[in-house]
Symmetry: C2
Subunit: 433 residues, 2 copies
């Protein structure tokens, strides 16, 4: 087992005296492929198309520091004190107009639970809903952080097929029926409908009510994870699943991509019974979210034009998406990929015969990093894909990164064709014997 | 079931369509008796001896706001970005001299894991160590937040007797043996050795190596939860269990009481194998601790005389402990209590026949709040005790609170003696029939 700490090299602990004492769930905890990469991929000479860090270079930290200093002078005794397990009421009010942009207009502050990032939200909903052996249906490929949570609760993740319009409704219905015929408890559908991580696709507006109808009819809870919904590039914001169904959807969103991730502040909206349990689970997990972090967010929302900032992010990330797309056209025309309508990621299919996971060390040697598609599956699939992030590097760096990547892929193809020829000859010889 | 949100009245959700869908572990999640009280007990006219909020009125927020503004101006892009799952290396270095005050001199930054408050640390260690039905031994009464975590992981908490010198070593050994004879997996001993919450007692220095010896011999992991260790009132800091044994102790401490709880920053020190799993569990639970919160703490530690602040806290809380003690002598001489050598709490034994839980609504009507002893047991015990906090109210308010409490107790005693007489008469009549 390797450590997830990006600041030290992975180490193996031998002779652990507690080896036989761990819980069964600890067996499934593994360092994600993404984390294990961070140490090397974060060297300045490497163009990292691997991480999902938002770009914060345009954040007005000078003005922000003034406002935060004032907040602390005036409300320090609140900001530094314990708070509510459900989250700061002011912040639970502040998220309502943000959700209204996605058509959620019926939510009340009492429906909202503030979490320590959406990662914690995924942990809480899995904790209250899933026993070991229960089934979660999910798009494949899937967000690696969600896969990690589901595995840590010993849940069976069953893949549902996606296409260019997102999750396929018929595949969802068939998967529920098949699991139930096999005697399994299907607890929820986990979906990232907008600008999917890593697949880059968006669930079509036409499919959304169909998926909701199936979920209602089959009594399957939908967990809608929506960190990127406001980061669409064509001026369009898609209606949240939650905007069409308040009873069967638990909605998660986050400030990580529309403000910044360093405060670890996100929120969930859930129907009343589930919301009550989420608050209790939040209290058990972390006692309460940080008042300091929450009041940093409310200070930002109250004093800055957060919508203008989102607009700026949209145009900045669109420019980077375009840089990625045109560099791929220029340098890697033999690959195929989607052109995402928003978010952070391009999902690249590499030429037949190549293995994205095996190739990675050679890519890093060539000073470019990506995440192998295998990280986003729980069943060994994905070596024919890689995830390329365009969120953090500048357009120039993206272009340079793709150029380097093309060099690596070309060399791999040369090697593969050499082996192919050898294999072909071996096969011919085999036949001739 | 009631909501844990202190800002709204408890509500009951009827007709929850997901009623049959929850995980088994969700059944044990209940709003703590403490939380349910917050709404009423926090009204200004009530003297609250209930909560465990540290007093922050002497914190130099004006200077702090300057330093934090500067931090954000100079390092905003780091403070607002994702960080390491193990925690900020700078902070993991900064905790070493703090632990040295308790005799821990061999810990390295790589042994440290930063958690989202010690509550999250308790969640993580239980998550990686305990399957449902495993046993955790713990002092009784016990910290209510730990009880909540253990229950949420469906662990059996087995009480070990304490006396005025803390956990009794022989009782610990016997409990392990008895559980093992019954075929149970004893995974750990959970202990708060210093200035126990709620019992106020401290494990004697003489007992510490004996408990460690038993734990080593019987291969039971010790989880040492130590939020109050530096808040001793007689100038004495006790040696941490971890200072005597690096291999069999997981040590938890927190900035909540020595700085402030609003950042939700705490830390754990664990042997290598366990530490690796804690980092993975932290990543699964929250991705990473908040950089903003961690850098707020490092800014404080680097720019302020944190040891002088701890000294000030010690003398402030000692004064309040003394106010509590003398008010109890004056107003409630028929009760018994310990005089704690540090920390936040006095554990009061009330006169025979009274029920601290049943009496609480009448106390709140009389404008004084406490926590019933029943909150700190998992088996219904504790109605003969109450926890009185002296951390937050001023000495004058503490005195006034105890005066009001004495009035409530006196009236209860009158009622009890009345009923006692009635019952006696009923019994006489019964005999005469």
């Amino acid at each position: 087992m390797t450590t997830a700490n990006p600041n030290t090299a992975p180490t193996v602990i031998s002779n652990d005296p507690w080896f036989d004492s761990y819980a069964h769930r600890a067996e499934s905890m593994r360092a994600s492929e993404i984390r294990a990469l961070f140490a090397v991929a974060s060297r300045p000479e490497v163009v990292s198309l691997a991480g999902g860090m938002p770009y914060l270079g345009r954040m007005p930290f000078a003005e922000l520091s003034e406002q935060l200093a004032r907040m602390l002078r005036e409300q320090g005794e609140v900001a530094w004190q314990y708070g509510s397990a459900q989250g700061d009421p002011h912040l639970r009010e502040d998220v309502l107009p943000i959700m209204a942009l996605e058509g959620i207009t019926d939510a009340q502050p009492d429906d909202v639970v503030i979490t320590n990032g959406s990662q914690s939200g995924l942990d809480l909903i899995t904790r209250i809903m899933c026993d070991p052996g229960d089934v979660i249906l999910a798009e494949a490929p899937n967000y690696v952080g969600a896969l990690g949570v589901f595995q840590s609760f010993q849940v069976d993740v069953v893949n549902v097929t996606m296409d260019a319009d997102g999750l396929i409704p018929e595949a969802f219905e068939e998967a529920v029926q098949a699991q139930r015929r096999a005697g399994k408890h299907v607890k929820m559908l986990y979906t990232v409908p907008n600008f999917h991580n890593p697949a880059g696709v968006t669930m079509s507006v036409e499919r959304r009510p169909r998926i909701l109808e199936i979920a209602r009819r089959l009594h399957v809870l939908i967990v809608e994870d929506n960190p990127y919904g406001l980061l669409g590039f064509d001026g369009r914001t898609y209606p949240a699943l939650r905007s069409m169904d308040a009873q069967n959807v638990v909605y998660l969103s986050s400030f990580s991509k529309i403000i910044a991730p360093g405060m670890r502040v996100a929120w969930m909206v859930a129907p009343p019974g589930i919301r009550q349990k989420l608050v209790l689970a939040n209290e058990s997990a972390i006692l309460c979210p940080s008042n300091m972090s929450q009041m940093t967010v409310t200070t930002y929302l109250d004093h800055f034009d957060w919508q203008a900032r989102i607009e700026d992010y949209r145009s900045m990330y669109r420019e980077r998406r375009d840089a990625m797309d045109s560099a791929l056209h220029e340098y890697l025309p033999t690959c195929s990929w989607n052109k995402p309508k928003g978010g952070f990621y391009t999902w690249l299919k590499i030429p037949k015969g190549l293995d994205a996971k095996a190739m990675l060390p050679r890519a890093i040697t060539a000073k470019v990093a990506y995440v192998s598609g295998t990280a986003f599956y729980n069943d060994g699939q994905g070596a024919d894909h890689m995830r390329l992030s365009f969120c953090y590097p500048t357009p120039e760096r993206i272009r340079e990164g793709v150029r380097r990547l093309a060099g690596v892929i070309d060399r791999e193809l040369d090697t593969v064709s050499l082996f192919d020829t050898d294999e072909g000859m071996d096969a011919q010889q085999e036949e001739q014997r």
